[in-house]
């Protein structure tokens, strides 16, 4: 149940700021309603699209990071599909990736610590063998 997702969606460029806020708060209530938590909301602003989507050349990008189960994403995507101003969305699951990154950073931190310590010869030797 601890799946973390990143939901990026594009809103049509002629949408007002307040309507966008309303849309985001609707989504947030949907998240909490389906027993999830909103980790972060990031408005990436208006950007030029790489190709024309529904006859628009620009769009307002919004990135929503949520934590919850798969059913939550199902519900969110259903809402986004129905919402008229949203022209595109993409959901990516990121908890596995985050786990992997944490592991790498932990290994790096441990390696640095042992390489700094003077008497840690076997660990330092192992680290050197790994890097070689």
């Amino acid at each position: 149940m601890n799946r973390t997702y990143e939901l990026m969606f594009i809103v049509r460029p002629d949408m007002a700021e307040e309507e966008l806020d309303k849309l985001i708060s609707t989504l947030e209530t949907a998240v909490t309603g389906n027993s999830g938590t909103v980790k972060a909301v990031e408005r990436m602003g208006k950007r030029r699209l790489a190709y024309t989507v529904r006859r628009f050349h620009d769009g307002i990008y919004v990135l929503l990071t949520v934590e919850g189960g798969g059913g939550l994403i199902h519900e969110l995507e259903r809402r986004l599909r129905v919402t008229e101003p949203v022209i595109k969305f993409l959901t990516v699951r990121i908890d596995e990736e985050q786990k992997r990154l944490e592991k790498i950073q932990k290994i790096r931190a441990a390696r640095k610590k042992t390489s700094v310590a003077p008497a840690a010869e076997p660990a330092g030797g192992e680290a050197a063998a790994v890097t070689a």
Binding site: M8, I10, L49, A50, Y51, V53, G59, K88, V92, L101
Partner: protein, 122 residues
């Protein structure tokens, strides 16, 4: 245009060993390979054609970039050709696991209109 001739030739080349197929005396062959990044190999002029071409290193391995995200378009755009195609790892020197992750990231970016499917990236 020159790069396309290389790409179509590649499957045929790889079936045989790398050395003899690359040993081309005539002018048209070395020409397209000249402006490629990485510079000319060490000593191909002599008989030793089995020289391993320019040990190009994987950019991600060298700079220790762990996460290849679909969001950083500037990083991804370096590995995308003018036509929008993903550049093969023969030319960029990226190692296999990173190329796979890069490819997934580029496809995700294309889906969310950060990179084009075809045509110039604006």
């Amino acid at each position: 245009m020159a790069e396309e001739t290389q790409i179509t030739k590649a499957p045929a080349e790889q079936s045989s060993s790398e050395g003899p197929s690359r040993s081309e005396g005539p002018a048209p062959r070395p020409g397209p390979r000249g402006p490629r990044p990485g510079g000319a190999p060490g000593a191909p002029r002599e008989g030793g054609r089995k020289y391993f071409r320019r040990k190009k290193v994987c950019k991600f391995c060298v700079e220790k970039i762990e996460s290849i995200n679909y969001k950083d378009v500037r990083l991804l755009a370096q590995f995308v050709a003018e036509s929008g195609k993903i550049v093969p790892r023969r030319l960029t020197g990226v190692c296999t696991p990173h190329q796979r992750r890069l490819s997934t990231a580029i496809k995700q970016a294309r889906n969310i209109a950060l990179l084009p499917f075809a045509g110039r990236a604006s």
